[in-house]
């Protein structure tokens, strides 16, 4: 009955028989897409009892926090989406850019999706767009029709030509309202129930204990501390972190008070071949009085003591020396030489926040500007400074990795908050050094551990992509910069990464808008409050389905046990065409190449497999 409503507005035929047929077709398609139980919110007749919004909240969720997370009208329940939908449907033509044929059909807005259902004679499938992935919307009306241009967070630009001025305006308003909803638990991942996946799997992917098990096999100088079990010591850390065995939980708590946001130094990676470690934290709160903290100093001393006698350490500060000094005026600062014997500070300034976002916006603008006269492209590309950021990130990561591998030193990385450029450096350094992190599961674990659990505020950073007209507040493409750096590594070492461009593109898309819950919220604490892990599906279980593998894996992969040192010369770094020019270039050749490689690699097995059947059917002489 719910679905009847949904599609009765979209049917373009008048006879009831046809309507019936069409509805069942659509239902089938939806079911196939795993969206069946995902649309009730868009339906006015949604029975109150079945609506997930009415279900009793978890008692663990405090009232204030729940109000915060649920957005403007937590009690309105299932009604809120339908109020935002001005009109159900319209006839429209969709232009998807070069390479894809235009699509005609009935357009329909639901709570989370924009649907285009082609006419009955059309062979193509239902076309779906997650509203959350719309970054900006532009409407234009002329005569009795209108045009909506949707710029998506994955950098796609779609054009919808809609019949009827009123319909155009209504649809535009609906999309605008629905795509900018801020509440987490009314978002699509909480309704997405794809076939073949089990809810709750997400808990089993890469918990901190897994990583600790690996570290514990290599050294016993470290322990897993649950000092942050209730997220009270550090709201942006996971429940369990790896710390020096010699430091107890009380000292950790005190060190946390000396670090911004409570992010005390924790282990990020243990490099077994050299017995050194990579740590990350936030800046110490030395302030103008140059305060010190005995427990924090003890913690770093214990790190060196645990590594090996006489080990040295480097603190890689991702700000310039001057910026670090200036931070003292606002209560931050950096480690004083005298307070941390054995540790040497290195400053490697990296751009973050606003300038990074602006660089991203400029680059996307340049890539999408097809009028661009050809003789200015390269200097414009240079002017975007995106590749300069890639170079900075990779060379800082190389510095950290070199310190561990060649100098045998322990490395602590931090900037100010320790949730952006810090993670960029630590995760890239691991990719360079650790062959395990270059495997499919290893890389997923790395993203989960060094980005998601380490408290990169995805919701804030990825609220808008490059097209949004809204003034950026907390947006920054740090994670995209990481993916770009990984892509550069993959380009320079085509055999050494087990995953391919496909995985990086998927991570980019899902970080900005996803039917999966993996990238929701800003920290483990928020994820816990929203019950993300039990009520949404994990991207990892989505990606690790066998049907996805061919797109994501690198068929050329062979295990490379060595460190991979990338060249960071400007000539060695390229624009990631697969991402930035993805929608303006014909995709076939590169996809064909990928397919071809797979064919070569897998066909051998296939022919071997098929041989016995043939010979069995052959008459015996």
């Amino acid at each position: 009955m719910m679905f009847f409503f949904l599609f009765s507005v979209s049917g373009n035929a008048s006879t009831p028989e046809f309507k019936k047929k069409k509805n069942s077709e659509c239902l089938l398609r939806l079911r196939h897409e795993g969206l069946l139980n995902s649309c009730p919110a868009g339906v006015a007749s949604c029975p109150a009892s079945s609506c997930p919004f009415r279900s009793p909240r978890s008692p663990r969720l405090k009232l204030l926090e729940s109000a915060l997370l649920l957005g403007p009208r937590p009690t309105a329940g299932g009604m809120e989406f339908s109020e935002l939908i001005r009109t159900g449907r319209a006839q429209a033509e969709l232009l998807r850019g070069p390479g894809a044929p235009p699509l005609r059909g009935t357009l329909c807005v639901t709570g989370h999706h924009l649907l285009l259902s082609p006419g009955p004679q059309a062979t193509s499938d239902l076309w779906l767009l997650l509203l959350r992935s719309v970054d900006s919307i532009e409407k234009r009306v002329a005569g009795d029709s209108g045009t909506i241009t949707l710029r998506c967070k994955d950098l796609r630009v779609l054009q919808l030509d809609i019949e009827g001025v009123e319909a155009t305006l209504d649809i535009a308003r609906s999309i605008e309202a629905l795509s900018s909803l801020e509440s987490v638990i009314t978002s699509f991942p909480f309704f997405y129930r794809p076939k073949g996946l089990r809810l709750g799997d997400a808990w089993h992917f890469h918990p901190p204990e897994h990583h600790y098990k690996r570290v514990a096999r290599e050294t016993n100088a470290w322990r897993l501390s649950e000092v942050n079990e209730d997220f009270s010591v550090c709201p942006s850390y996971p429940r369990a972190v790896i710390v020096p065995r010699a430091v107890d939980d009380d000292a950790l708590a005190r060190s946390a008070r000396f670090r911004q946001g409570g992010r005390f130094p924790v282990l990020s990676y243990h490099h077994a071949p050299s017995g050194t470690v990579l740590l990350r934290s936030s800046q110490p709160l030395t302030g103008p009085q140059k305060r010190r903290c005995a427990e924090d100093e003890e913690l770093l001393r214990a790190v060196l003591a645990g590594a090996r006698p006489g080990a040295r350490g480097f603190i890689v500060d991702t700000r310039s020396a001057q910026a670090a000094k200036q931070a003292r005026m606002t209560g931050g600062g950096t480690e004083a030489k005298a307070a941390y014997p054995g540790w040497k500070r290195l400053h490697r300034p990296m751009e973050r926040g606003r300038p990074l976002q602006e660089s991203f916006v400029r680059l996307v603008e340049a890539c999408g500007d097809l009028e661009q006269s050809m003789d200015r492209w390269l200097s414009r590309l240079e002017g975007c400074r995106w590749l300069a950021h890639v170079k900075e990130a990779l060379s800082t990561a190389c510095l950290a990795a070199q310190g561990m591998e060649r100098e045998g030193a322990c490395i602590l990385v931090h900037g100010a908050e320790g949730t952006d450029s810090t993670l960029l450096v630590t995760s890239l350094a691991q990719l360079i050094l650790d062959p395990l992190s270059r495997t499919m599961t290893g890389f997923q674990e790395l993203v989960e551990r060094e980005w998601i659990q380490a408290g990169h505020p995805f919701q804030l950073r990825c609220a808008h992509s490059a097209f949004s007209h809204a003034r950026p507040k907390h947006e920054a493409p740090t994670f995209l910069l990481f993916l770009d750096c990984v892509w550069q590594l993959g380009r320079q070492f085509p055999l050494s990464l087990e995953f391919g461009e496909g995985l990086l593109l998927a991570l980019f898309e899902h970080a900005y808008a996803s039917p999966f819950g993996t990238f929701l919220c800003n920290s483990e604490k928020e994820r816990c409050l929203c019950e993300v892990r039990t009520r949404t599906h994990s991207l990892w279980s989505g990606l690790n389905q066998p049907k996805e593998q061919r797109k994501l894996r690198n068929p050329l992969y062979v295990l490379n046990p060595l460190a991979i040192w990338p060249s960071v010369e400007p000539q060695s770094l390229r624009l990631w065409q697969g991402l930035f020019l993805r929608w303006t270039r014909p995709p076939e050749p590169s996809e064909a190449a990928w397919e071809k490689v797979w064919q070569i690699v897998t066909d051998k097995e296939k022919t071997e497999g098929s041989q016995p059947t043939v010979s069995a059917s052959e008459p015996q002489p």
Binding site: C367, M374, D375, R376, W377, L378, S379, L381, E382, L387, Q492, F493, P494, L495, S496, L556, V558, N560, I564, W565, S567, E569, P570, Q571, S572, R574, L575, Q577, L581, R585, P586, P589, S590, A592, A593, K596, V597, Q599, I600, V601, D603, K604, T607, E608, S610, Q611, V614, S615, S617, E618, P619
Partner: protein, 633 residues
């Protein structure tokens, strides 16, 4: 004059001397070493006359053949090589009449340089006997392949004189009335590259002659046009007398002749030189009629499309020297477009600027804008864009195309060959590409000798220009955009460019076919294609998918073009891909996998078809199987 016989073409002289080297150990070594290594070891040892006869029984027939091409070490002395990347290196230089080697005396006697003398464009003395400063006295060598070499020698006793003289003599043999090395080279290969291109066969492959096009021998002894091949394809309706009259109106008698014909719609690509219009705006009825005859060969109603590769202003300026372009008034049934590609001088200066920013040190701070200011990629873009237009016109079947520039041997060759590469998948195979180069470049008189300056000491010659390099760069850009469309890999293209300069093969010598015939190049030299075709696996792209009738349209936007770093910046160790060997290794593995798969597939099909045809004869089954094979490979 010759000091010591040596035999090193592919390999390096071994620095093992003295009688203390035990022969038994050598025999042991020879028995366990893998063939290619064994070969290099043997050559090295033989070259040093170390053991002479005692090795020879171990050689098989092929190895003996390969060793026949012996030549001589002319110089063997200590120098300091001033490496722009790693600083001065003490080394020992060996110069043969083919190449220069430098072996380090410091670090495990690694080979540092290996430069065929043909790539040298200029040798200069730097410093004098009295100049001060460390390493200030020596030689400065400029190469044609984007690098410079500096050697420092001892200031006492004119130590550089013999090196300078020998280098000058053998790098510029023409100035010393010596033969170019290709004529001395006695290498033997198991295939003969000169047999790759046979014009009659190639035209037959295109379905020629047919009702509208005939093969003419009017230029058999190069009497019609001395820079054209002896065999030409012209419209059936044009008599030899017509051709002679048209020739008088075309620069250097380069009349419009067929380059390629579309197998289905029968539109053609025709190449020629500019018409001799001149200041007075001369006309030639025969030329006008001839172009109309070309247009009518496929019963085309629309106009013939003429692509003039030059910028409009250059074409106008050419009138002053008697040239010009086809005007609307004279050629009613033709439409003229200018493609804005600049001349050889602009290209030469552009490449010079590229060299300035990549060698020895790469401009780092403003890499992209300095790359932009060289305009190299912009020129690549214009050439590709022009070729795309030609290909599109022909494949859409709208019109036959006539391409010319001024003389029709530089830009015209680029445009026709690139368009043919886009249109005809045959040219994307290794042999097909060799045929394309042989046909459109070598036989149609691209002036390789003048553009490259083989064995010529005049480094500032205004005739030199990297036109062929630019063409290869365009091919590389295409292969980047269509990773599965070409049978050859990057190494193939780099090898062609290396031997464009090396003078080891006769392939690129001389300006035109008539000169080559006079010098008996095919009899007296070895072809580059012999080297390549005898070891094809090294040059194969494992991802190649053979596709018939697929037209490739590369994206010729600046966004999608990139500098060919692996060629232009290959001497810089910091740019080098760090693990080329595993990649090549993996590619070879994939090639082997693919071959195995094809073989298996064929076996299965054979078994299958045998089975099918046995009980109930179905003759259609093998042909049904064939498309299946082709869709995969």
């Amino acid at each position: 004059m010759p000091l010591k016989p040596s035999s090193c073409l592919e390999d390096v002289p071994f620095v093992m001397r003295g009688p203390e080297f035990p022969v038994w150990l050598l025999h042991q070594l020879l028995s366990i070493i893998h063939t290619p290594w064994r070969m290099s070891l043997l050559r090295g040892l033989l070259g040093m006359e170390l053991i002479g006869i005692s090795v020879r029984p171990f050689l098989d027939f092929q190895e003996r053949l390969a060793l026949l091409g012996t030549f001589f070490i002319l110089i063997d002395k200590e120098v300091i090589y001033i490496c722009p990347f790693n600083g001065p290196i003490k080394g020992r230089v060996y110069i043969t009449n083919y190449r220069l080697y430098l072996r380090s005396l410091e670090t495990d006697s690694a080979l540092i340089l290996d430069v065929p003398l043909g790539v040298i464009s200029r040798i200069e003395k730097m410093g004098g006997a009295t100049s001060r400063g460390e390493n200030s006295y020596g030689l400065d060598i400029t190469c044609k392949d984007m690098r410079n070499l500096r050697f420092a020698l001892k200031q006492e006793g004119h130590s550089r004189r013999d090196m300078f003289e020998i280098l000058t003599r053998h790098a510029f043999p023409l100035a010393h009335s010596l033969p170019i090395f290709a004529f001395l080279n006695e290498e033997k290969f198991n295939v003969d590259g000169w047999l790759v291109y046979n014009p009659v066969e190639e035209y037959r492959r295109q379905g020629l002659p047919n009702h509208h096009w005939r093969i003419t021998f009017i230029n058999k002894c190069y009497e019609l046009c001395d820079t054209y091949p002896s065999l030409l394809v012209v419209p059936y309706r044009a008599s030899d007398e017509d051709l002679r009259r048209v020739a008088t109106f075309r620069s250097r008698n380069r009349i419009p002749v067929l380059s390629w014909i579309h197998p289905e719609n029968k539109t053609v690509i025709v190449r020629c030189s500019q018409p001799l219009v001149g200041m007075s705006g001369k006309r030639n009825k025969d030329d006008e009629k001839y172009l109309d005859v070309i247009r009518e060969t496929n019963r085309q109603i629309s106009k013939l499309t003429i692509y003039d590769a030059r910028p409009n202003v250059n074409a106008v300026a050419n009138k002053a020297t008697g040239g010009g372009y086809e005007s609307d008034d004279a050629y009613h049934n033709a439409e003229l477009f200018f493609l804005d590609i600049h001349n050889i001088h602009v290209m030469r200066e552009s490449l010079k600027k590229v060299k300035d920013i990549v060698y020895p040190n790469v401009e780092e701070s403003h890499w992209l804008s300095s790359l932009e200011s060289t305009h190299w990629l912009e020129h690549i873009k214009l050439v590709l864009t022009g070729a795309i237009q030609v290909a599109d016109k022909v494949s859409s079947g709208k019109s036959s195309v006539l391409v010319h520039c001024s003389d029709g041997w530089d830009r015209t060759a680029q445009l026709t060959s690139l368009a043919m590469l886009m249109l005809d998948s045959f040219y994307r195979s290794i042999e097909g590409f060799e045929i394309l180069v042989q046909k459109e470049w070598i036989s149609f008189g691209h002036k390789f000798a003048s553009r490259i300056g083989h064995g010529d000491k005049n480094h500032a010659d205004a005739d030199r220009s990297p036109i062929f390099l630019q063409f290869i760069d365009c091919v590389w850009q295409m292969s980047k955009q269509f990773p599965t469309a070409f049978e050859f890999n990057e190494q193939f293209l780099i090898t062609i460019l290396d031997h464009l300069y090396s003078c080891r093969f006769g392939t690129f010598l001389y300006n035109c076919e008539s000169a080559r015939e006079r010098q008996k190049v095919t009899e007296r030299t070895v072809s580059l294609w012999s080297l390549i075709n005898s070891n094809k696996d090294k040059f194969k792209n494992p991802f190649y998918t053979k596709e018939i009738n697929r037209v490739l349209y590369p994206v010729a936007s600046m966004r999608h073009l990139e500098l060919w770093v692996n060629y232009y910046i290959r001497w810089n160790p910091r740019i080098k891909q760090q693990q080329p060997n595993p990649v090549e290794q993996r590619y070879l593995e994939l090639l082997a996998l693919r071959d195995e798969y094809i073989k298996r597939l064929e076996e299965l099909q054979l078994a299958n078809s045998a089975k099918l045809s046995d009980p109930s004869t179905s003759p259609s089954s093998p042909s049904q199987m064939m498309p299946h094979v082709q869709t995969h490979f």
